[in-house]
Amino acid sequence: MSAPVQEAPAVLEMRSIVKTFPGVRALSDVSLTVAPGEVHAICGENGAGKSTLMKVLSGVHPHGSYEGDILFQGRPCAFKDIRASEARGIVIIHQELALVPYLSIAENIFLGNEHATRGIISWHETLKHASRLLKRVGLSEHPGTRVADIGVGKQQLVEIAKALSKEVKLLILDEPTAALNDDDSAHLLSLIRELRDQGITSIVISHKLNEIAAVADSVTVIRDGRTIETLDVRDPATTEDRIIRAMVGRDLDHRFPDRTPYDGDPGAHPALEVRGWTVHHPIDQQRKVVDDVSVRVRRGEIVGIAGLMGAGRTEFAMSLFGRSYGRNISGSVWKDGREIRTRTVPEAVGHGIAYVTEDRKQYGLNLIDTIARNITTAALGRVSRRGVVDEHEERRVAESYRRSMNIKAPTVFEQVGRLSGGNQQKVVLSKWIFAGPDVLILDEPTRGIDVGAKYEIYTVIDQLAAQGKAVVFISSELPELLGMCDRIYTMAAGRLTGEVPRAEATQEVLMRHMTTNNMTTDKR
């Protein structure tokens, strides 16, 4: 293991950490050295052990439940819980934010740490102190605002303000930008840099290599519970491919499968055509969330929809799929040249349309149920006769998907909630492939999953198209759209702003369309 080239004594040293759960060895041998005042990124595939390592560091897994030593500011640590690590200035911000939605920003910041004398809270001091902290993180909301009323990006800033209120010395952020749009992400990253200049060391867990390049000073790669190496990000030899190679343990010549571009008959009826689709916001009914959108997809074609957060991509897809979102929906849906009704989910499914949600935990899976039962929920009829489920047939089907999709689980009776993100995504995909659709709408199918699983999912998508399915691919990651799609629509503020064929698509072209408000190219 190569130690980073750093002169200053390390602020944090974790030596040969081993952590086992019953039956699983989560960390086999992880060492981590963080220099004072740096931003240190940790990356690795899902299940590599990043989060477990941070839980060990922050005392979620108490001292004694793991082997190895932790030195913070030169002193050994034996945290028995989170409070103990926070007392030393180590604060972790989890991926799932830990804020109470119906309390105010100020109340959340000082939750468990209230400005109080003899149990009576001093609101003046609380608000004053909160305003100061909000200024520091660049959030212009009033501290009395309810957390439920601000966006995820701002909530993330509240979390950081909360950390600052605890006199944080080492800030740990677990995938801080996973749920943020580009603007919020950029703001957050620059904030992390500002905090570094104020002397706060940060550890950032991230999947996004461009972010690591933008914000981190060094990066440690973890794979299968072991430290692979620590790289200096400023070293020109540390390229994205270099990091990916360390993460997956093999060279990735290409991150996308070789794809034969679509060459179907352009005159044929599109498998799916949507005309003049308009959707109003479910509460604010004056607002058009999707405004006069028309798209078409042919069999065997992969069509991308690009757009920034709030562009209305998910709203478009969900309103199309059985009117699962929005009010006052108008427009028509045509399949193979015939107008169809998709007013309810069963109707949409009946017409061979499948929607793979962007939020698999909330809308995609029954986390407390088994892999097998999740895979069959959308098409129980295919494993049942006269309303009675054939459990053997169900198990056989699930087994076949476990093998073909390479879902990593000992049996198909494993609870879905215990799988890693990538494997959960494969279960959701299996569910909809089993439903036997002609048109698949994939909404951020690779969000929050690791590089290896992404490649597997790309391969599946490619094969679906090769089988003659029409695929709509919604994504925030432009390289992914460029690598996979035959044609890409762009959306901004609910409107369609561009339609770009594969040959002409570049990140710059797409980004330009995504940031205008008018249809700038009008091809066919």
């Binding site: 039962r373 929920t377 049942s384 076949s400 492939i433 089993f434 094969q463």
Partner: protein, 411 residues
């Protein structure tokens, strides 16, 4: 429509084919997955053994076993319905009041208006269905939380009962109606010191169980699934046959199979099958597990929720009929706290507060745990005051055990 295949070439080197799991591992796996239910079954066994010793063998005497079934029948009927409601992610606080209302309606029909008892029974079940539909409508289609709707129902139906009866108790009922709760299968055939029809029923049951087990094993083989090893399979069959024989002989040496037991068995088998094997049952579990995901998978969430409450209404009515028949009167205070007993039985039997988990069989186990405790404690002379305290601790312990287990497995 042929199956959609996706022969995904694996980018990672394919894992070696997993070796056949050892029998012990199979057993452990099954035990882990059904921890709560097996745990409760074992607990029930322990409670039975404890009271059998404590009461000097009275607990399992034929007349007391029969009595146990009769005493707990209406709570068990309610528990089955309640379990399904809880699996769907809801709760029903109104079942005790609804049962009372239905028994009052029966009393008024038969005693005051001399309605034939069969007709009264049918009307009673229809009343239950309508009441369930009423509550299901507000919960499923309007979106009012079930806690509120059924709390309102609890007041409505209790009030209705008092309006119908005033402060009177109405009875007695026609013979046929009473038989629902106090009747037994007729004695036929030669005098064998045992109840012949019961023996016959027991034999049939053994036959059915064995055929089912063998067939399911053969099908598992055909699908190349792991099956229990021969020895264990035989042991399992022997244990099941022994249990059926013991229960049959006990009942047969008293007055035979009570009518209510047949009713309960029909409900257990029928609704158990629906929840385990029918598409509708799956949809109930899916809704309770994650309503949003179920909806986006094409589950008709509103319709399923609605019918779950209709089912509960009918079962509550049935419980009311059984209770009235047992008491041989309709009284304004019938069914008080029944809903709480049914809810407790469901949670002891493996339901989860957040829904999506539990089985009909579990509800029966939970109900029996409470029933045997009640009966056993009464036999040894523990007063109802201490009985309540003990039952409270049992409920807490059962759910606490489950929470502890989940944490240990899940972390």
């Amino acid at each position: 429509m042929g199956p959609v295949t996706t022969d995904t070439p694996r980018s990672a080197p394919s894992a070696p084919a997993s070796p056949r799991p050892a029998p012990a591992a199979l057993l452990l796996d099954a035990a882990r997955r059904n921890m709560r239910q097996y745990g409760m079954l074992v607990a029930l066994g322990l409670i039975v053994v404890l009271f059998q010793i404590w009461t000097g063998g009275v607990l399992l005497k034929p007349n007391n076993v029969t009595n146990l079934v009769l005493q707990n029948s209406y709570i068990l009927v309610l528990a089955i319905g309640m379990m399904i409601v809880i699996i769907a992610g809801h709760i029903d606080l109104s079942v005790g009041s609804l049962a009372a209302f239905v028994s009052a309606a029966c009393a008024v029909m038969m005693v005051e208006h001399h309605v034939p008892w069969v007709l009264a029974l049918v009307v009673a079940l229809v009343i239950g269905a309508i009441a369930g539909a009423w509550q299901g409508f507000w919960i499923a289609y309007v979106g009012i939380p079930s806690f509120i709707v059924t709390l309102a129902g609890m007041l409505l139906f209790r009030g209705g009962t008092q309006i119908l009866l005033g402060s009177r108790s109405l009875g007695p009922f026609p013979d046929g109606f009473q038989k629902i709760s106090t009747g037994y299968l007729p004695a036929v055939g030669p005098d064998t010191n045992y109840h012949n029809l019961t023996l016959l029923l027991g034999l049939t049951l053994i036959g059915v169980v064995l055929v089912q087990e063998v067939r399911s094993r053969r099908r598992q083989r055909a699908y190349e699934l792991d099956v229990l090893p021969q020895g264990l399979f035989i042991a399992k069959c022997v244990a099941m046959v022994a249990a059926v024989v013991a229960f049959t002989m006990t009942l047969a040496s008293y007055r035979g199979v009570p009518v209510v037991l047949l009713l309960l068995a029909a409900l257990l088998i029928g609704l158990g099958f629906v929840m385990r094997n029918a598409v509708v049952g799956r949809h109930v579990y899916a809704l309770g597990g994650n309503q949003a995901a179920a909806k986006l998978s094409g589950v008709k969430d509103k319709r399923v929720t609605f019918w779950v409450f209709v089912n509960m209404g009918v079962l509550a009515a049935l419980a009311g009929v059984v209770f009235a028949a047992r008491l041989n009167a309709g009284t304004p205070n019938a069914g008080v706290n029944f809903e709480l007993e049914a809810i407790a039985a469901s949670f002891i039997g493996g339901a989860s507060m957040s829904g999506g988990v539990g089985t009909v069989f579990g509800a029966i186990i939970g109900g029996l745990v409470l029933g045997v405790l009640n009966n056993g404690m009464s036999l040894v002379g523990i007063g109802t005051d201490y009985q309540q305290v003990i039952k409270g601790f049992v409920l807490l312990a059962a759910v606490g055990f489950d929470v502890y287990n989940k944490r240990k497995v899940g972390s």
